[in-house]
């Protein structure tokens, strides 16, 4: 008997990340999300889709970039938990140093106030917990409303039919 292995998609879920008014930085100063617990039986994902929808602020520079970086953690049972770049467990400011680049989003040549820019990527093997760091290189602060800086994840597993 043969058994097809299909993709099993969890719901698309928002990261908790307060990136409204996030300032421009060329030094990696950004905002981290709250970590997602991928050790839960309902998750234990083997890959994660990331969807970012970001509203730019006032007079952003054209052809500049927003960058999204990965935080991974080890959930060490007894010692201080390791997280990329010394990140904490929850939504907070952070400076990215060595966290892996997930991807960049261009402001495009037609950047204008309030433009919404989009990026989506796949993270293979995210580990037992994961989060993201958003760094704004658009030249100006992002839109002031946290609800207009949306970053979502979708956990994906294989499923034997």
């Amino acid at each position: 008997m043969v058994n097809e292995i299909q993709a099993l998609f969890n719901n698309s879920t928002n990261f908790t990340v307060s990136a409204g008014s996030l300032a421009h930085s060329i030094a990696g100063v950004g905002q981290q999300s709250t970590m997602v617990d991928n050790s839960l039986d309902a998750n234990r994902g083997l890959s994660v889709k990331i969807f970012a929808e970001v509203k730019l602020g006032t007079n952003p520079d054209p052809d500049t970039e927003l960058s999204l970086y990965l935080i991974t953690g080890d959930q060490h049972p007894t010692e201080t938990v390791y997280r990329s770049d010394g990140a904490g467990p929850t939504d907070a400011g952070i400076t990215r140093e060595n966290g892996d680049l997930i991807g960049t989003i261009s402001t495009t040549s037609t950047a204008v106030t309030g433009k919404i820019v989009y990026g989506d990527w796949t993270i293979p093997d995210p580990g037992v917990e994961f989060g993201v760091i958003l760094v704004n290189g658009s030249g100006e602060a992002l839109d002031s409303d946290d609800d207009n800086i949306i970053i979502r994840f979708m956990i994906v597993n294989p499923e034997v039919q």
Partner: protein, 157 residues
């Protein structure tokens, strides 16, 4: 017939023995590295590892210096093969012809007791292996640096 989700199976994160990192000098050539003791993968037979490294700075260093980590393989054979003829016990290691695992920087972490974080992955490392670290930015502290491993396999539910 029932369907079966395939989950990620993660072991607990464990520290390698890395006393060779203690008080390790910076090396501008990135040749004179410090290696961890070997990890025996013949029991749990993980196919993938996430590795979590923290280097603690022991003396004022240089900003935006470079570092990298590499892989030492061992075949548990007789006679034994190991990358660079490594002993398997944490010690200095001359890094030549080993597989590169990742590069990192200390950024602005230049002060005593600053911590430099770097994580990397090893896919299909084989039956036994270790990792080594070379860095150019600072003398490391006498203690407080570590490299942890977390093994992963897949599990059919």
């Amino acid at each position: 017939m029932a369907v079966h989700k395939i989950n990620s199976l993660a072991a607990a994160s464990v520290a390698l023995t890395t006393t060779s990192l203690n008080s390790k000098a910076a090396d501008a050539t990135l040749i004179n590295a410090a290696a961890a003791s070997n990890f025996d993968n013949s029991v749990f037979r993980f196919t993938r590892f996430k590795c979590f490294m923290v280097l603690k700075i022991g003396a004022a260093g240089t900003a935006f210096g470079a570092g990298y980590v590499g892989l030492i393989r061992d075949d548990q054979g007789t006679p034994n093969y190991s990358t660079g003829n490594y002993s398997g016990v944490t010690s200095a290691f001359t890094a030549k012809n080993a597989q590169h695992l990742g590069s990192f920087t200390n950024a602005n972490k230049v002060n005593i007791n600053d911590l430099v974080y770097f994580n990397f992955e090893i896919y299909r490392p084989g039956i036994e292996f270790s990792v080594f670290v070379a860095q150019s930015f600072a003398l490391l502290a006498p203690s407080g640096s570590y490299i942890r491993l977390q093994g992963f396999n897949r599990e059919i539910q």
